[in-house]
Amino acid sequence: VKQAVFEQARAERWQHFEALLDQLDGGRAAPGFPREYRLLCQDLLLARDRRFGAALVDRLNALALRGHQHLYGAAAGRVGAADLFLRRFPRAVRREARLALWIAIVFIGPLLACFWLSLRDPDFVYSVLSPAQVATFEDMYDPSAEHFGAPRQATDGVLAFFFYVGNNVAVSFRTFAGGIFFGIGTLGILFSNAILAGVLAGHLTAMGRAVPFFSFVIGHGAFELTAIALAGVSGMRLGLALLSPGQRTRGAALREAARRVVPILYGSSAMLVIAAVLEGLWSASHAIPAPVKFAVGGMLWVLVGAWLALGGRGGEAA
């Protein structure tokens, strides 16, 4: 078959196929599409095999690619939010339980060390933070302040909510992304956050502001600290995939690890949004007495633990 004859014989069918594609693009049904697609694939093979002109082959290739995307790309299953957050997310976390334990140690170790150091030595805080930063934090956790626990500009709970979401989710994303550098970026961000939290807690405790500080952080901390640690888990999963890919290439190991931690990324982002609501409206509230905050905060920790430990149990195989 010569190219001109071939083109003439098939022109109508190709036009029909393109019309079907346009229908699919517009979200309408296109009866007979799979069959037409397979016929077009044959035409493409034939055109290549006969070494017909590049313009024809390119055109058929473009049509086949569009068809391929409709046939194979479109019907990925929709995951409900409840299924994602209540089942898939906790399962994904439990799959990384050992790594999560290590991350907890990496996070809590420096935190406690810095807490102890700054409790013992009131000047230790200045070896980590500048005097201006220390003053800002002291001001933030001044129990008499109106803008309790937040930067001075965020006077309103709702404004504070947006600030916390924007800031904290970005930090968790950075913690994850840092994992691609063999985990170094992730560890660095976790370390610096642990040191900051430890120093701050120790310093404020030494100042006699332990109750306002801990009653402030305990509630949203259940979600916020867990979420940052989970972002650390997902980042380290990337780093470990590159460091010890096992029987696969580093690229394949990286892709597999990345797909594995996606539910954790969704889940930890959701936890940070919850934390931001609590932080803006509950933790920062003066109306709630400290004992209530401690009691509710403790329950929230139990709740988060139960969520991650029990969510989606029994369906792991599915």
Binding site: K2, Q3, A4, V5, F6, E7, E18, Y37, R38, C41, Q42, L44, L45, R48, R50, R51, F52, G53, A54, A55, L56, D58, R59, N61, A62, A64, L65, H68, Q69, Y72, G73, A74, A76, P151, Q153, A154, T155, L159, F162, F163, V165, G166, N167, V169, A170, F173, R174, F176, A177, G178, I180, G185, L238, G251, L254, R255, A258, R259, V262, L265
Partner: protein
């Protein structure tokens, strides 16, 4: 042929060729997106300052978060792999198997854009692209995605491009490579200057009929190869 093509083998047994976009096209798309975002930031900033006064900065943190982290994800998933910048440049993101990109892949590649952007000048991303056969930055490696040229408009049938020439059979049998080179010449002839056409056609000296301009002669053979019947 030297080309930046990535082949996808489909279940139908046909090999689809994806034309992979290189660092320059993608950098331009990135810059366009950057300027769009900057304009949006300015507008929001002005609105917030007039609306909220000194508390605007806390809301800007949220706006920056949306712009820097989620803008590319939303556009890539909802606008068929294209941010506005990519649309203007004519490139799009697809999965490495040629299918449309969805939330998990887009989220992964764009969260890792933060790592590609380091140290400040997208140096890691560029190094990763140059080190991989199909220009993948770190985020593309992790998400298993590619950035390809989008053939937005179906091209005209090649027949429309071939200058009309009376078909002439070649003086001897051609191999299929030779035939396809001559067909390609016929398709591209309209885009070349007459001098360049003759220069290129002259390379196929044994095929040129004596006393005829090289390009005219070769185009007649191309017309024959496409399927025209020789005229006496």
């Amino acid at each position: 042929m030297i080309d930046t093509q990535h082949a996808v083998e489909t279940p139908e047994g046909v090999r689809l060729a994806l034309r992979v976009a290189g660092p320059v096209a993608r950098a331009i798309a990135l810059s366009i997106d950057f300027s769009f975002r900057s304009i949006a930031y300015m507008a929001v900033l002005l609105g917030l300052i007039t609306g909220f006064g000194p508390t605007f900065m806390t809301l800007m943190v949220f706006v920056f978060f949306l712009g820097e982290w989620l803008y590319p994800v939303f556009f890539e998933v909802l606008a068929d792999g294209r941010t506005p910048g990519k649309r203007i440049v004519g490139i799009r993101v697809v999965n490495a198997d040629g299918t449309r990109i969805r939330w998990p892949a887009s989220l992964l590649r764009n969260l890792l854009l933060g790592a590609d952007a380091l140290p400040g000048t997208y140096l890691f991303g560029l190094a990763s692209m140059l080190a991989s056969s199909d220009f993948r930055r770190l985020g593309d490696h992790a998400a298993g995605t590619l950035v390809i040229y989008a053939d937005s408009e179906p091209r005209a049938l090649p027949g429309a491009k071939l200058p009309g020439a009376s078909p002439m059979p070649p003086p001897f049998a051609l191999t299929s490579e030779e035939g396809s080179a001559i067909l390609a010449f016929g398709e591209r002839a309209a885009t070349l200057s007459p001098e360049r056409r003759d220069e290129l056609a002259g390379l196929a000296a044994p095929l040129i009929s004596p006393g005829e301009a090289p390009a005219a002669s070769l185009l007649r053979i191309a017309a024959f190869l496409r399927g025209g019947e020789p005229t006496a």
